[in-house]
């Protein structure tokens, strides 16, 4: 209905409102002369499908174009390394903010426990909905550097009231050896170190995760048990367009 051109003056006005002492031209004019920006609204449900791998606070990015969380065979970004080793999405979100294709970012309220779920909401200008994708990243915290999520899930054709569901597999960030050793895993099963800038995995590249071995399967110094093992998929992501 409303073009991007109609949106921009409103954004400018909102900005002017924030920077209160600007005193731009026409400051006496009433705002209602600008038509409201029509918004497309979405809900994203994230379900933890694992037995004992809490998921770190989700980073959800709504974007157009080619934003990527990771590429198989390429080194993880610094933000992804921090997320996948320690569970903090702060650096990942900070980097996403500077990406021109990113429209909005939502951070989960907290970890999602096994069997638990969270619904995240966001809205974008209606004019952006026709080219909209979402990407998501979250750590399996009882591991060295496993994460899951999705790269550019295309939701551009989602009608109001419709849903789209996918399931995500576990990836290995390739930034920390999967030693499962005491002190190397941040999750509640261990309580060890999170992020460490050293990259000492087999190779500095993102791959599918080979799974947790555990101390019940021959890795004697693993602090993980059979409870922390997992098979794919590990997360269910459902996007519903609500308006």
């Amino acid at each position: 209905m409303y073009s991007k051109k109609a949106m921009k003056p409103l954004a400018a006005l909102a900005l002017a409102g924030l920077v209160s002492a600007c005193g731009g031209s026409g400051s006496d004019d009433p705002i209602p002369s600008v038509p409201p920006v029509s918004q497309a609204e979405f809900e994203v449900s994230v379900v933890n499908l694992t037995n004992n791998q809490p998921l770190s606070p989700v980073a959800l990015v709504a974007h157009s174009g080619d934003f990527r969380v990771f590429t198989i065979g390429s080194p993880a970004s610094q933000g992804l390394e921090v997320l996948a080793e320690g569970g903090s999405n702060e650096d990942f979100v900070e980097a996403a903010r500077t990406d021109a294709s990113v429209i909005t970012i939502v951070s989960g309220a907290g970890p999602i426990g096994p069997g638990g779920s969270e619904v995240l909401s966001f809205s974008v200008p209606e004019s952006d909905a026709a080219s909209l994708s979402v990407s998501l990243a979250t750590m399996l915290v009882n591991t060295n550097d496993a994460f899951t999520g999705t790269n550019s899930l295309d939701i551009s054709s989602l009608a109001v009231g419709a849903s789209q569901t996918m399931r995500g597999i576990a990836y290995d960030a390739g930034t920390e050896a999967d030693s499962e050793a005491a002190g190397t895993i941040p999750g509640p099963a261990v309580g060890g170190e999170g992020f460490n800038a050293e990259r000492d995995d087999n190779a500095d590249q993102v791959t599918m995760h080979p799974g947790v071995i555990s101390n019940q399967d021959g890795l004697a110094n693993s602090v993980l048990t059979s409870q922390e093992r997992f098979d794919n998929p590990v997360v269910q992501i459902s996007v519903t367009r609500t308006l």
């Binding site: 379900v47 933890n48 499908l49 694992t50 037995n51 004992n52 096994p114 069997g115 638990g116 779920s117 109001v160 009231g161 419709a162 849903s163 569901t165 555990s214 019940q216 399967d217 048990t225 059979s226 409870q227 093992r229 997992f230 098979d231 794919n232 998929p233 590990v234 269910q236 459902s238 519903t240 609500t242 308006l243």
Partner: protein
């Protein structure tokens, strides 16, 4: 999937109400939202595993808004009975109250590794637009393969679905083969291809007591002791564990 559809239908109805549409309009919307049922279709089930047997499968075409299980939610007592002991009678009872179209035990017993079974379903004159398929993995404590409320395709053709192994979340995965198959009774009811004995038990109750993706059996290599009665070289799997092929005639 079913819950998403429910949510979206609810959202559509809510939106309709907000805009002042009456109940009649909402009813019309609901009718319009239900796709025409594929009246006649075949379902072929394939055991994709290397060393796992399936208890009798349950195939059900059922109405919009119903499901046999939901990931992230506790198993119903009927689902628990299927997952812990292979007993599908409880689920069949629930489905009969929904006027579902049901086929029980198309393999005529256990379905061995790499074997398949086929059944025909006819939903003529029903509201049964969703398809679910479940069966227990043997030997496990409470693992089951599940196809959860997919929309039955309406165009003639062949459609393939790969099924993961779920954990009902209702029983400790102790991996002790002791004949325990009734709901709430610990242990594995049977190991059709054989198993070890004398296990001390792998672990206690699941950390996740809701329905979730199974973390796989662990087994061991000690046939007369160790933690598990399962053989680590025989009884493990990776998803997918079963395939459902729907052919719309």
């Amino acid at each position: 999937m079913a819950s998403n559809k429910r949510q979206s239908l609810t959202a559509a109805l809510t939106a309709s109400m907000k805009h002042g549409a009456g109940l009649l309009a909402a009813g019309a919307l609901m009718t319009a939202a239900v796709p025409a049922a594929a009246v006649d279709f075949d379902v072929r089930i394939v055991n994709l595993t290397n060393g796992i047997f399936y208890t009798p499968f349950l195939l059900a075409a059922h109405p919009e808004g119903s499901s046999l299980f939901t990931v992230g939610a506790p198993a119903s007592p009927e689902l628990q009975a299927m997952a812990e002991g292979g007993d599908i009678s409880g689920l069949v009872g629930v489905l009969s109250t929904l006027d579902a179209t049901v086929v029980e035990n198309p393999a005529g017993g256990l379905l061995a590794p790499a074997q398949s079974a086929t059944a025909n379903l006819n939903t003529d004159g029903t509201d049964n637009v969703l398809l679910s398929v479940v069966a227990m993995l043997l030997p496990t404590n409470d693992a089951f393969a599940g196809l959860n409320s997919i929309s039955i395709p309406t165009e003639p053709g062949t459609y393939v679905y790969n099924l993961p192994a779920y954990d009902a979340g209702t029983e400790a995965n102790d991996e002790i083969v002791n004949g325990g198959g009734a709901p709430g009774v610990p242990g594995i009811p049977a190991a059709p291809g054989g198993s070890g004995t004398g296990a001390s038990g792998v672990t206690g109750p699941d950390a996740n007591t809701n329905v979730h993706i199974h973390r796989n059996a662990i087994g061991d290599t000690d046939p007369t002791g160790g933690a598990s009665d399962l053989d680590a070289t025989v009884h493990r799997w990776l998803n997918p564990v079963a395939r459902v092929v729907v052919t719309v005639n």
